[in-house]
């Protein structure tokens, strides 16, 4: 069986694109072959910085022949139909068609069409140029003379030559002839850019590999990676050191060399004063080199591993010296940054350092980084008691946590943010909890990242994430579909995992509301106060630009009760001065509407400003209350604002609920149990939801649980049918007098007795207890269905029994919506 060898030789392909490109080439070519009836035995793609190649093994020499029968018109059909049939089936005359007989249709024509399969090279010559022309590079370019042609070939970098050979192992293969934009396929390639000269003629995969290897090219990417990793480890070992492995770096380096030569160099040990992570980041980012550590201490050694693309004539001395030179310069910079930061931290008080964040915008509508830090600090303080942290410590930790963002080291290497915060806090001799929180408050970053457990870290981590979520919710920048530019899903999952992992009992709705109020106080407010935006709406100044109402960050707050949508008002405010306004601006009623709306808007803006003022002045009547408490009380007194804050909170809580659902399912909980619990109202406490789902799962695993579930579902089914039929709800109000049978009386008594007890157990958050109590219903429910006919002939009895069923539904719903549970 013949093999195909394809090599696309070009100028250096970006390392990050290579693996994907090899995969894509294999898939595109093999799919196209199979689609044309050319089934193969195996295929392997190769990629180096300068070539993309594919070997397809065990292809047939040609496509299989195809036999097709095409039914035509009946014998004696009009000439038009006959001609059409001849044209479609490619027959020269109707004599070439056979005549077949069908009992229903009678005699009709059939064309027997034989298609000889085309030789495989012909098919390859057709599909490969098309694949090259439409190859999905992340970014492609034009080059050279041909670039004036609008249909010029685009490739990742200039494409220089193409190998395409085809033939069985035992014979000299042929070149599959084709041309792409002036490049003719052939059987010639080049070896290493510097270590090899001239061209190489190849026949098929095995000698392509051998000849390339002799020309200093390791074509297989995985083998290059193995060589680099093994040589690096050996070199480290030879120096009594250990390689700090880095899979991402290894991938990248394997895409930068065709002939990896691993060398080792050193730097001045004085640079080891700089934290290991900074040294590593410097050497990795700028030089693409590995660092080494001392296995005895676990700390970095003053040596590094570099991978060159050259067997240099001096054994690599000049290359090592050059790399050492650059690393010296880079580490000098890093050390300078580190020393500068230490000096700044020692001489400039934190407050002054934080003040600089006032000039840095966090988000246009959400104010500066300084305002963000103030909010997080305040919220961390509020959350502290709920997670067992000291409020003062939590507030200080939050104030400190972001301070490393303005340091020189983090400015240069953003990946060490947080970590540097910890180092600097330790150097400043701050409480260890503050140092730890500086590092940990970004966590957890995803579904598998570690969740911090130190109370102060938890408080700051929660505050940081909640602040981000409430802010973007308030300005209506929620994630949509696949778009989540601010990683809000990750932040919400972080909150979920923090709460469920640490078991912190947090009233999430309350925390969210407080966080929203903090945004009103710090960040959203225009520098000259909320009322300043009303100036734009002054009806007297019609020549002023029409304000874009939706662009104001507070539109969700101001308009939650829809006052601007009230007829006329929104138009009056938003479009004052717009001559296209439907209503007559001169009419008295329009004027009144506008005036009323304008007054209301002004009042609302004044109210928002008063919320802000709560944070500026002490409440003389209530001197011990915190400004946030006073502000929250003030918000609660204004129904439109209270509603706005509550609506936002509700919406965000349902987002948390979605994240929790996903999280519980991924942790192995049954999705129907999760749904059954979330179907209950007011499931704001993520921890309680989790506990309830767990308890429910255990309960349903018992015999009582299974039976009660069956009984409850039966009740719910009957109710669903009867309520639909009668068009009424049977909730509530069983008439004791109408309970005739002992079983229905027993059931009613059991429900009446258990109801308050279950309620009390739930109030204690004792889910196991509640489940144990409700298990007591199993026997009366079973007995009821055994003995009592629900749809009694007597209408009064029937209604009363349906009401009894509704009571079963109601009491079980205290635990979960059993109707949503499967089984």
């Amino acid at each position: 069986m013949p093999d195909l060898l394809l090599e696309l030789f070009c100028e250096e392909i970006p390392a990050r694109m290579q693996a994907q490109a090899a995969d894509t080439l294999r898939k595109l070519v093999t799919d196209a072959l199979v689609e044309r009836g050319l089934v193969y035995e195996g295929a392997k793609a190769f990629v180096t910085p300068r070539r993309l190649a594919l070997a397809v093994h065990g292809l047939p020499a040609s496509q299989p022949d195809v036999h097709e029968e095409r039914k035509g018109p009946r014998v004696g059909a009009p000439d038009g139909a006959i001609q059409g049939f001849l044209k479609a089936s490619g027959l020269a005359s109707i004599d070439q068609a056979k005549i077949e007989n069908d009992p229903k249709k009678g005699e009709f024509y059939v064309a027997h069409i034989h298609k000889h399969g085309r030789p495989t090279p012909e098919v390859i010559a057709e599909i490969v140029p098309a694949i090259i022309r439409s190859f999905p590079w992340p970014k492609s370019m034009r080059w050279g003379r041909n670039s004036v042609n609008p249909n010029t070939l685009r490739w990742v970098r200039p494409l220089q030559s193409i190998i395409a050979t085809f033939g069985p192992e035992t014979e000299e293969p042929e070149v599959v002839p084709f041309e792409v934009d002036g490049i003719r396929s052939g059987d010639v390639t080049r070896g290493h850019r510097f270590l090899s000269q001239g061209t190489i003629r190849v026949r098929r995969l095995d000698d392509w590999l051998t000849k390339l290897e002799a020309a200093f090219v390791v074509a297989d990417r995985e083998r290059r990676k193995d060589i680099i990793l093994n040589d690096a480890k050996d070199l480290a070992l030879a120096q009594g050191l250990e390689l700090v492995e880095d899979a991402g770096l290894l991938d990248e380096i394997a895409g930068l060399v065709e002939w990896p030569v691993v060398l080792t160099g050193s730097f001045d040990p004085a640079f080891l004063d700089v934290p290991d992570e900074v040294i590593r980041a410097t050497i990795r980012a700028n030089q693409k080199c590995f660092v080494l550590k001392d296995p005895a201490t676990g700390r970095l050694a003053n040596r590094f591993i570099l991978v060159s693309n050259l067997e240099a004539t001096d054994g690599g001395k000049a290359i090592i010296a050059g790399n050492e030179r650059v690393i010296r310069a880079r580490l000098s910079d890093a050390k300078f940054f580190w020393e500068t930061d230490k000096k700044t931290n020692a001489t400039v008080p934190l407050e002054e350092r934080l003040a600089k964040f006032g000039n840095v915008t966090f988000q246009e509508k959400l104010g500066s980084q300084l305002e963000r830090i103030q909010r997080i600090a305040r919220l961390a303080r509020e959350l502290a008691p709920m997670v067992g942290a000291d409020p003062d410590l939590a507030e200080q930790a939050a104030l400190y946590a972001k301070s490393d963002l303005r340091t020189e080291v983090v400015g240069e290497f953003p990946e060490v943010q947080g970590l540097m915060g910890r180092y600097y806090a330790e150097l400043e001799g701050l409480d260890p909890a503050i140092a730890l929180a500086a590092e940990e408050h970004y966590k957890p970053q995803g579904p598998t990242d570690r969740v911090p457990t130190a109370p102060v870290s938890v408080a700051v981590a929660l505050a940081d994430k909640l602040d981000t979520l409430t802010g973007f919710w308030a300005i209506d920048e929620k994630p949509t579909g696949s778009k989540d530019p601010y990683a809000l899903r990750r932040a919400a999952l972080g909150v979920v995992r923090l709460i469920t992992t640490t078991g912190a009992s947090i009233n999430l709705r309350d925390a969210v509301k407080r966080s929203i109020v903090l945004h009103v106080i710090h960040g959203m407010r225009p520098s000259n106060g909320y009322p300043s935006i009303a100036a734009y709406y002054d009806c007297q100044h019609e020549e002023q630009p029409k304000p874009d109402w939706n662009a104001t960050p507070y539109s969700l707050l101001l308009n939650a009760d829809g006052f601007l949508d009230a007829k006329g008002s929104d138009a009056a405010i938003c479009q004052a001065g717009n001559p296209d306004l439907g209503s007559d601006p001169e009419s008295a009623s329009t004027g009144e509407l506008r005036y009323a709306a304008y007054t209301e808007l002004t009042n609302r803006l004044e109210t928002l400003d008063s919320v802000y003022i709560c944070s500026v002045f002490d409440d003389l009547d209530n001197p011990t209350a915190s400004y946030l408490e006073v502000a929250c009380l003030f918000v609660a007194q204004h129904s439109w604002l209270d509603k706005a804050v509550n609506d936002l909170a509700t919406d965000l809580l349902s987002f948390f609920a979605d994240r929790l659902k996903v999280h519980l399912r991924e942790a192995g909980a049954r999705h129907d149990l999760v749904d059954a619990v979330f179907a209950l109202e007011g499931q704001d406490d993520l921890l309680l939801v989790t506990k309830r789902v767990e308890a429910l799962g255990r309960f349903l695993a018992t015999e009582d649980g299974r039976n009660l579930l069956a009984g409850t579902k039966r009740a719910a089914n009957i109710l669903r049918i009867e309520e639909k039929k009668d068009g009424v709800s049977y909730d509530g109000g069983v008439d004791v007098v109408l309970l005739h049978e002992p079983e229905e009386r027993a059931l009613a008594d059991a429900i009446a007795a258990l109801g308050p007890k279950i309620e009390a157990a739930l109030a204690r958050e004792d889910f196991e207890g509640a489940m144990g109590l409700i298990a007591g219903l199993r026997a009366p429910v079973d007995a009821f269905f055994d003995k009592v006919t629900v749809n009694a002939a007597d209408a009064g009895l029937r209604v009363n029994r349906l009401r009894l069923l509704a009571d079963i539904r109601a009491i079980t719903r205290q635990i979960a919506d059993f109707d949503r549970i499967e089984g």
Binding site: E11, W143, R157, Q160, F194, L310, E311, I319, R325
Partner: protein
């Protein structure tokens, strides 16, 4: 068949290859003040000689302050239109924000770029580039030269291209770009652009750690002139100017003046049926001016983040209009007027 892909041991061949044929080496008879590895001026002379030999027009720097060699009309404008073009020149480049009062051994607010532009990009451009390294004394059998992905973009010029930063033993020494778009206009044909960081290269071939220690004229003893002798005082003075004293009110006014002058010249340059433009280059000078003034304002820290974007857009609009005007000139390839 795949069994044949064996993980064979690699050959450990060393230095069995003859020196690359056709690569010029440094002429050993050259005196030090002409040698690229002994003097800064020698480096420039070697590059001039090399690229002159490859058919380039060797130009002098543009006589205006620019941020990079790309701004020279010999690159920005000549990259547009169908006519072939080959040029090489040194361009002093001003980066007001990079001033360090002469205290940093690697950063300068004024430095030299060596710029080569070849249109259309020749098929052997990479080989030409490597030969030029050899010509300035970088032995390709000793040094690890790599082409590392780097996509180039100039928001102010409305330009982008694909290419690499070229590494020599881990140090970036050049920028290699295939222009795809300039002044918002598709390049047709595509030009190849090479930019050498002259100070860095010189530091490397001279084996010097501090830019100010570079031997400028290749002499020794009393006759020796270093890079510091020539430029240290200027770095100190201009750093003061760029960060502390540049007159911001005047600069803001200059920006507006340059912008409106460019618009004026652009409008005046079009002929009646808008088929020819007669003043593309004077208009483009004003665009260069606006760009440099913006860089100074930026260094003075008087431009906020949001304003920054709008200044860049304003310069880009000028660049685009100048590019469009250039295409309506003879050198821009417009058909000769009837």
């Amino acid at each position: 068949m795949f069994a044949l892909i064996r993980a064979g041991a690699r050959l450990r061949l060393r230095a069995i290859f003859p020196p690359t044929a056709g690569f010029p080496m440094i002429d050993p008879t050259l005196p030090p003040h002409m040698r690229p590895d002994k003097s800064f001026q020698g480096l420039i002379l070697a590059l001039h000689a090399f690229w002159a030999d490859k058919g380039c027009v060797v130009l002098q720097p543009y006589d205006m302050e620019v941020g990079a060699g790309t701004f020279h009309p010999a690159t920005t404008l000549r990259a547009l239109g169908p006519l072939p073009w080959k040029a090489a020149y040194v361009q002093p480049s001003r980066r007001p924000k990079d001033g360090r009062y002469g205290e940093n051994p690697n950063r300068l607010q004024h430095y030299y770029q060596y710029q080569v532009i070849l249109k259309p990009s020749p098929a052997d451009l990479q080989d030409l580039y490597l030969a030029s390294l050899d010509a300035i004394g970088i032995d390709l059998k000793l040094h690890d030269v790599r082409f590392v992905e780097d996509d180039w973009e100039s928001p102010t010029l409305g330009a982008w291209g694909l290419g690499w930063e070229c590494w020599c033993d881990g140090m970036e020494v050049s920028q290699f770009t295939y222009f795809q778009q300039v002044a918002g206009i598709e390049c047709s044909p595509v030009s190849g652009e090479l930019t050498y960081g002259l100070e860095r290269l010189a530091m490397y071939v001279q084996g010097v750690e501090n830019v100010y220690d570079l031997n400028f004229n290749g002499r020794e003893g009393d006759e020796k002139v270093t890079y510091g002798d020539v430029f240290l005082q200027a770095e100190q003075e201009y750093s003061r100017h760029n960060f502390e004293h540049a007159d911001t009110a005047m600069l803001l006014e200059q920006f507006r003046m340059a912008e409106s002058a460019a618009a004026k010249y652009l409008a005046a340059g079009w002929n009646d049926d808008k088929s020819r433009h007669l003043m593309a280059q004077p208009a483009y000078d004003q665009c260069i001016k606006a760009s440099h003034v913006f860089n100074l304002l930026d260094a003075r820290g008087v431009i906020s983040v949001t304003e920054r974007q709008s200044y860049i857009l304003r310069v880009r609009e000028l660049a685009k209009a100048c590019g469009a005007a250039w295409l309506a000139t003879a050198a821009g390839g417009a058909p000769s007027a009837a």
